[in-house]
Symmetry: C2
Subunit: 534 residues, 2 copies
Amino acid sequence: MRVGEPTAPRSPSGDLAWPLRRAAALHGDALAVIDGPARVSYRELAARVAALGGSLAGLGVPDGGRVGFLGVNSLPHLECWFAVPSAGRVLVDLNFRLAEAELEFIINDCGVQVLFADSERLGVAATLRQRCPSLQRVVLVDGEAGGEQLPYGELIEHEPLAYVPRSGDELAGICYTGGTTGKPKGVMLSHENLLANARHNLIVTGHAHEDRWLHVSPMFHVAGTANVFACTWAGSVQVIAPRFEARLLIELVRRESVTHCVLVPTMLAMLMDELSRDTGGGLPSIRHIQYAASPITPALQRQVLEYFSCDIVQLYGMTEAAPSVTRLSDVDHRRGLAGDSAYAKRLASVGTPIMGVEVAVRGTGGEWLPAGEVGELCVRGPNVMLGYWNREHETATALRDGWYHTGDACWMDEQGYVFLVDRLKDMIVTGGENVYSIEVESALAEHPAVLEAAVFGIPDPRWGEAVHAVVSVHPGAEPSAEALIEHCRSLIAGYKIPRSIDILHEPLPKSGPGKILKSKLREPYWAGRSRRIN
Amino acid sequence: MRVGEPTAPRSPSGDLAWPLRRAAALHGDALAVIDGPARVSYRELAARVAALGGSLAGLGVPDGGRVGFLGVNSLPHLECWFAVPSAGRVLVDLNFRLAEAELEFIINDCGVQVLFADSERLGVAATLRQRCPSLQRVVLVDGEAGGEQLPYGELIEHEPLAYVPRSGDELAGICYTGGTTGKPKGVMLSHENLLANARHNLIVTGHAHEDRWLHVSPMFHVAGTANVFACTWAGSVQVIAPRFEARLLIELVRRESVTHCVLVPTMLAMLMDELSRDTGGGLPSIRHIQYAASPITPALQRQVLEYFSCDIVQLYGMTEAAPSVTRLSDVDHRRGLAGDSAYAKRLASVGTPIMGVEVAVRGTGGEWLPAGEVGELCVRGPNVMLGYWNREHETATALRDGWYHTGDACWMDEQGYVFLVDRLKDMIVTGGENVYSIEVESALAEHPAVLEAAVFGIPDPRWGEAVHAVVSVHPGAEPSAEALIEHCRSLIAGYKIPRSIDILHEPLPKSGPGKILKSKLREPYWAGRSRRIN
């Protein structure tokens, strides 16, 4: 040991139990969660979470074992994000829009042993239970359990689990994203990853005990989960919306005096549309709107800023960064829309790196690029994932030299504003969901009539981008677009299915080395518009 | 390797270069520091820091070597906090109020090799250079260097050091505090400790690019240093005051439109006094005042709140926690002074734990105590020190079970407000400086006339507490109080010297086991007042 080196174990940086421990100690009697008629205080929430944590061993989930969740936003959904990692287990939060085949792949990939599901997903859960060898039990989080399902109500009356501190590096959750290989990849997020992002959110957003947040973005996306930890740390009131519907959202905001919400631009567009017909006097309780995850039009930005006299901010990130990386502030928005020419250009950016996260641009030779030059967007910080579950190669490719290589092409201006150029990963963002072209191309290619397929996003006023396919068919084959779409339905999630298909009886255009020239196919749809993805 | 474990190195949580890298990239042209007539932008600051870092190897400081700083707040002082740790060296920031003997002890204790000093401290530096074998060079940070001293101006024109990422656990600085054994102890703070505290400050204070902070608390205290990192991360303007003087502070605030400042209550009292005679129209630019480090009277709290229409917050912490632990918010202050009875009581507390830091109260048997019970205040979080330099025993005593045991007795109410009861460590807080009784008692005991001595704090309207001694002298000896004070002057810092001495010709009162009953000696001075220390 060198002189002066620490002789005692380091003080921990925290685990996912910390935000709830603080809220229960400081704001025990305060309202924590509103989920329909259910209202629980932070003291009650902590007690329910401790009981749920205590029940996991009895369900047969060992230390480090995986617990799945398949359902809409709900109080049990939020509770699992605290109880499962705090008990030393790993939460696998599943996108319920995925097709059964995709869910089956994920559950087998990481060996989920117990699946929490809501009653709408009970049929799917039963099928998965039969098909996935690792899956031993299904817990029903709402309604009446029967047959093989365990009722959630019993678990939250279990003997509580005593608090055991977790190492920050311990795996807390696995969040699956579409993969460039066509199969979902499990992003491994540690306690510290999720806490670091919560701290960053607290810094940039300034959550306060007095806030009333609406959780309407799905919690199976880390963007939806992220604010759960920050809100709990601050002891804010958390209002849960099980799904997005503009009219219901307006009513919920009014009834519960919601002050803060995060929406994807598609939701925001629908909300503005509904508000234009509304006579209820606006939404005066709203003080802060965040949008994220997909393109937004300048017209919508302007419409939102003019309607709401509140902070409007954009966050950009990705699951691998747990997720926040950059932010376009309210001041950025207002200066840009007021006509300040430097800021007007920056409305097309995703803003500047948030405090605590470093962003740099890397060239193809590995060199770091100066302002103005296009390269790969790289991220580092305590929020960057541990790696991809059981994917050594993809992990080693993504995490190099201490940086996460996002696969997004970008450039930064002199003041650090990040402009995305295109997705190296060939991804479509539709209504806030990421669709990897190759997943859809693979599904189409399984149809006997299809020779080859190219899938890309085309502009769509409602969804930002819509999935579009161009297929070349075998000589003599005459499939209808409807038949191809129906074929896809059994293989991939509904939101990934092409909204439109062009069928060609000739090969797709190729580059010299035989690569499909997707840019040429995409061109006519995007002529005269810049393809902004954030 | 377990399936799913990370296969790539972790993304770093950051090092002390990060805040400045961000500010230089995002706010390069913006004003960073104002120090008298000197004004540097963040781009210039980063360049100066890189050059200074590059010069250290040439000065003979090896990797991990210790660099001392002895001087008032200044641009070079601020630069050393970035350059030295970022270059993989360790900054030892010295309290210039210490006596030469104390400085000599510290420099020898941790082996300082190069000492940066300002011209007022040049004589002391020369003496230390002769007395301390490890000390090779002295750098003069202001004025004209001559003889053996190197001029700072040359160092900041050195070939810049290329950025090398540092591990968060790497030692960044050693901050000495008075020790219960009578000798100063070196608190080892890592890059992550100081960054974690900066993140916590950013969360609770919400630093912004638009802020203009005044650094008037001495940077050799970690409370003075702490805001340097948070301000830099946010890209705020940092205005440096070399020393506190109420009239100069008022002029500086007005000239530079300062918005935020941190003051100890003694400074705050002097400032209010000066403002009561001022006809310049108040200090309207001030939006935020923090106070910390020593007792404050309710009368002063009220006076400040009535004068300033800005946020007033109290922070409580200690060097070992880098330093922030709890915070009494502006809302807490205003509710308390408005007569809300629950909050009025809490004005005597140090507030609630800040987000990111856990506080718990431990009983003498090691058990964790519920609300309302008095025990030892314990702290954990990423901000807690690595340990004491070269003090295995004290480190093991202070850091146990992942918690830092502060030695402060306290209790928490049902809402998590922390009330300090007394210092287990027998410490006096006078004008924001900590004085350990035993240091003063040891100095007095070295006088030939003194048989035994007890030192404690007594109420003082200006300094919060004043150092008071009761000594028992040898039969026949008749030393004057002045002679004893003069004797202390050669051994300990001026602020530690007793302001008053009672001389007894009988033994001091003792408990059964022979321990001096200091509580009995202290009693008459504190009758009818609660001794609040924060």
